[in-house]
């Protein structure tokens, strides 16, 4: 085993981690904003809003993210009006922006479905109780519906965030030198795919491990009511070994 090569590859790939995290962060941040809008549109009760969100989810969940990324980066620049638009062109000629746009649009489709399911799973009785105590629609949403729905959405949402972490690797196909792009360059230069891809794989694994732990912690903090009650958990603790 060539430890020096492993170490230098690890270091080179790690130097691209900030770029990966940047794509990841802005992708999920904008994705969350779009998903919130879509969820609201879907729940608003307007037929037009419902048709739009259904079509949106159909398109962005139904086609590969790679196809969407290619269409946005290579496809849209074919249109004259895009190239001459002072707003669109600065965004769509930049591969970094294109990746973020593609990821945000794609993840928003999944997330809006996650949120829709979570909202529907909030027990009707608890919302009714909030109504019966005179809470306004906004107070009801803030104190009862939203907190319950967020806890219900968290497990599926964390999975989606992990999928997005892995999806950042697609940025390499539109010339971005994030971790995957960097790894591929080293691989082409050295013809040592096993070592290089193992390094990249290990970093993605550790990254996702920490994301999963973070979400598990948040979930634990937010759901004391879903754990066994205090006495039971005390009983469940192992008996200390005396011997």
């Amino acid at each position: 085993m060539d430890f020096d090569f492993y170490l230098s590859t690890m270091w080179s790939v790690l130097k691209a981690l900030p770029l990966t995290l940047e794509i990841w962060f802005f992708g999920i941040a904008f994705g969350l904003i779009i998903a919130t809008g879509l969820t609201w549109l879907r729940a608003s009760g307007y037929k037009l809003g419902e048709y739009f969100t259904r079509a949106y989810v159909f398109v962005f969940r139904g086609s590969p993210l790679l196809v969407q990324l290619y269409l946005i980066y290579f496809g849209l620049s074919q249109f004259d009006f895009v190239r001459h638009s002072p707003i669109l062109w600065p965004i769509l000629r930049d591969p970094m922006y294109c990746t973020i746009v593609a990821m945000a649009l794609n993840t928003a489709a999944y997330e809006s479905e996650i949120f829709r399911g979570a909202l529907r799973a909030v027990p009707v009785g608890q919302i009714e109780a909030a109504k019966a105590f005179g809470m306004s629609a906004f107070t009801r949403f803030r104190l009862v519906t939203l907190p319950i729905a967020l806890r219900l959405a968290l497990p599926a949402y964390s999975t989606e965030i992990i999928l997005m972490t892995k999806a950042t690797a697609l940025a390499s196909v539109v010339t971005i030198m994030e971790m995957m792009g960097t790894a591929q360059k080293i691989q082409h230069d050295t013809f040592r795919p096993i070592e290089v891809l193992t390094c990249a794989g290990v970093i993605y694994l550790l990254l996702n491990l920490s994301i999963a732990r973070l979400f598990a912690w948040v979930e634990h903090r937010l759901s004391p009511h879903l754990r066994p009650p205090p006495e039971q958990s005390r009983l469940a603790e192992p008996v200390p070994e005396v011997l």
Partner: protein, 271 residues
Amino acid sequence: MSANVAAAAQAAPSSGETPAISVKDLRKCFGDHEVLKGISLEAHKGDVISILGSSGSGKSTMLRCINLLETPDSGEVRVDGELIKMKRGRDGHQMPADIRQVERIRANLAMVFQSFNLWSHMTVLENLVAAPTHVLKRPRAECLEQAEVLLKRVGIWERRNYYPPHMSGGQQQRAAIARALAMNPKVMLFDEPTSALDPELVGEVLRVMRSLAEEGRTMLVVTHEMGFARDVSSKVMFLHKGEVDSVGEPKEMFARPPTPQFKQFIANFNK
């Protein structure tokens, strides 16, 4: 028959004071099924009215129409003399004209549900404080103080920091009653408060309700507890197929059932 009784019920308490709750000719359909066929009811301050009836008789629906959890198709509901304003929606159905008014009135009509409906992500104490602070805008410290007093009263103060799923049904229902009391409501609505409880837990909830009746609270209680209806309530109302079959003083009603339907109903319970 039922029309006479309804008219009598309206005419009887003509003491001149404004009834706490007054319901007139309430009607409600679910699809083709007419659940309420013109129900009238008057509750004065201090009344404890037990509403009896077999399942499907419309008793829960009637209660839920009073605080607009169900929207009646026609008829009027007055709380403390104030008419809940209704209007016709575009689909021809009735709907509340002023949702702010409905919210204000609901805050005066605390409800206790069959399945408790405590907010599961809040501790018992938070459950008691949520509505008074956010709806009545009372200071939090004051609400917390009152909440502890109420929890002591219903006997679950030790569980104040528990989450509802960690408590027995009886404890949850007592917490729900305390949550209702925290609103200082003018009228309390009970929708089958003991029907979801294990038999051995019914007693603890009924004891709390009895003490509320004794301190003169105005209560509308939809129930299957014949003992409570007979011994605690000041008036019994029997619904049959969406109509008021009979209304009366409990001892009298149970001793001499005024209609064959009511006789049949209590006979089934004594079996």
